[in-house]
């Protein structure tokens, strides 16, 4: 196991999440699964020639385009006042 319960507890603390013992164990298992999944990538051989052909300098021009309407922007938010996103008081 690369994901220890300490790692999960530390990450949960950073994320300001309160997890029960069961949830901690479950998260550790899931995170381990994700890492195992990512190991597939480690098995892929990638030579320097391929790396040299990697895309670079993907840039866009500094030209403005309209984004989302505010109503669209706020539609998925758990809490809004129609103008702002609302979150529980967060002061560091």
């Amino acid at each position: 196991m690369r994901i220890t319960s300490e790692t999960v507890e530390h990450t949960a603390a950073l994320a300001k999440l309160k997890l029960t013992h069961e949830e901690l164990a479950q998260a550790a298992e899931q995170l381990e699964d994700i890492l195992n999944c990512m190991d597939v990538l480690a098995g892929v051989t990638c030579d320097t020639q391929q790396q040299a052909q990697m895309r670079k300098n993907v840039l866009r021009e500094d030209v403005c385009r309209p984004g989302l309407e505010r109503s669209q922007l706020l539609v998925g938010a758990p809490a809004t006042d129609g103008t702002y996103f609302l979150v529980p008081k967060t002061v560091e």
């Binding site: 993907v58 840039l59 403005c64 989302l68 008081k89």
Partner: protein, 476 residues
């Protein structure tokens, strides 16, 4: 014991591009909340960032102006943190391969020039704005600023006083304004700085434990915060205590620093390379192009004004204080005005008018050709200096000096016969003053000159009037 304050600065500069760093949303300041956002800057699933070409160009320009080594192959990294000012829960920044390292900025101080070393400079995105409810209710978030391009410039701990820090910030601001890459407005947050400060016994070579102060929104706040924090740390050390490494927030209203976080592990950002952005290569051709296009900065202009045009260091400093003012000055000179005369007009009359209107040089409608013309008219003797100031005030907001002079009959009387006629009349009306002068009262001459000038509505050359009166007095 004498203490030495050691300060390093992290300065965030908002670049004045039209769009955000990774998406095409507008960066205009002051728009209604949450109206300049899109799936990319909101971190919605499936969206991909694409780097703004102009951000790279502006950052490289700053790096060159700060004499930095530029990283040929740039990458971005994710800085993970859980705070709702960034909806992605990470900031795209540069940790491992920042765009520039190891530069310096020369700062002019009263005591002489000091070179401040630049440790590194990187590109990153700004966060949104949180508005905390005063009564502890919900926090409101405006994401318009989220994704606005920033560069962060980190110095070495080279400052020893608040004066040095403020001088550096002013110098940096001038560089940014001359490069045209940022509007440098502290009050709108386009220049923000964090102060890392520690104290140590004078003469010591090891650094003390430092604190970091955030939220410094004005030069005044920077100065106050440094003075406050350095005194606070000295008090702790003198009473036998230890300074704790922590982040403090400067409260400008309360005039004191307030601890933000004390937990050592709070800054666990778990940086890793940003997989959504391919690397950016800055090749020599690109950098050579930028170098040749780099505008002349204030320090270079000052040196040139002194060397080529014989201006004093003070004059050169005043004229280069605002980029638009320096440009106005240079264009006036290019139109034929003698540099010293143009400098005096600008530092005197132009700044007087600007300050009366509470304007910056960049907002001025006055054209260099108008001032150059006015200076030429004085030089040619067609109007005298006082008249020129009157004309200047009249045409400051628009108008043609020569038309104004013609319409108001202000042209200097160069016709000697006309002046002589006025002198005759003044002599006839003031026989006592004439007698006084002849009796040895030199002051009477001034009175006669004044009367003649008045009769000619100030349009004659005072020296000519003076000479004609003296000739007339000694004639008989």
């Amino acid at each position: 014991m004498r203490w030495e304050t050691v300060i390093g600065l992290e300065t965030h500069v908002e670049l004045n591009t039209d769009t955000k760093i990774f998406c095409s949303c507008s960066t205009a300041f002051g728009a209604p909340p949450n109206t300049q956002c899109c799936p990319v800057c909101m971190g919605l699933p499936g969206s991909l960032p694409v780097l703004n070409r102009r951000v790279v160009e502006y950052a490289a320009r700053i790096a060159l102006a700060l004499n930095c080594s530029i990283t040929p192959l740039n990458r971005f990294d994710r800085k993970n943190y859980f705070y709702p000012d960034l909806p992605k829960a990470y900031q795209i920044s540069q940790l491992y391969l920042p765009i520039a390292r190891e530069g310096w900025l020369d700062v002019e101080m009263e005591q002489g020039r000091k070179s401040i070393r630049i440790h590194e400079m990187h590109m990153e995105e700004d966060a949104g704005k949180l508005i905390h409810h005063p009564d502890g209710g919900d926090t409101r978030i405006d994401y318009n600023r989220c994704g606005v391009p920033l560069v962060e410039i980190v110095t070495e701990p080279d400052f020893r006083s608040a004066d040095e820090v403020v001088a550096y910030l002013e110098q940096l601001r001038s560089v940014l304004l001359y490069l045209g890459v940022s509007d440098g407005k502290l009050q709108e947050g386009s220049l923000r700085c964090d102060v890392n400060l520690s104290v140590r016994p004078e003469g010591s070579q090891t650094l003390g434990v430092r604190t970091e102060m955030k939220n410094l929104g004005s030069f005044r706040a920077v100065r106050r915060a440094i003075e406050y924090e350095s005194q606070r740390q000295i008090r702790i050390l003198e009473s036998g205590g230890r300074v704790i490494r922590q982040t403090l927030r400067w409260d400008e209203d309360a005039d004191q620093s307030i601890p933000m976080r004390t937990k050592e592990d709070a800054a666990d950002y778990r940086y890793f390379p940003e997989p959504d952005l391919p690397p950016v290569e800055l090749d020599e051709a690109f950098l050579t192009d930028l170098r040749t296009q780099q505008p002349e900065l204030a320090a270079q202009k000052r040196a040139r004004y002194c060397k080529d045009w014989g201006l004093s260091a003070y004059d050169a400093r005043m004229l280069t204080g605002q980029r638009s003012l320096a440009e106005f000055f240079e264009r006036t000179v290019a139109l034929g005005a003698p540099p010293k005369k143009a400098a005096n007009w600008i530092m005197g009359q132009v700044l007087r008018q600007l300050s009366a209107r509470n304007l910056q040089a960049q907002d001025m409608t006055l054209q260099p050709k108008v001032l150059a013309r006015l200076i030429a008219l004085v030089e040619q003797g067609r109007i005298n200096r006082n008249t020129a100031v009157e004309v200047f005030d009249a045409v400051f907001d628009g108008g043609d000096p020569e038309e104004y002079i013609a319409a108001h009959g202000l042209e200097r009387i160069s016709d000697c016969a006309q002046v002589r006629q006025a002198v005759e009349q003044v002599f006839a009306e003031n026989p006592r003053s004439v007698a006084d002068w002849r009796a040895g009262k030199e002051k009477a001459l001034g009175f006669l000159v004044g009367q003649t000038m008045r009769m000619l509505q100030g349009k004659a050359d005072p020296q000519t009037v003076n000479k004609l009166i003296r000739d007339r007095l000694t004639e008989e």
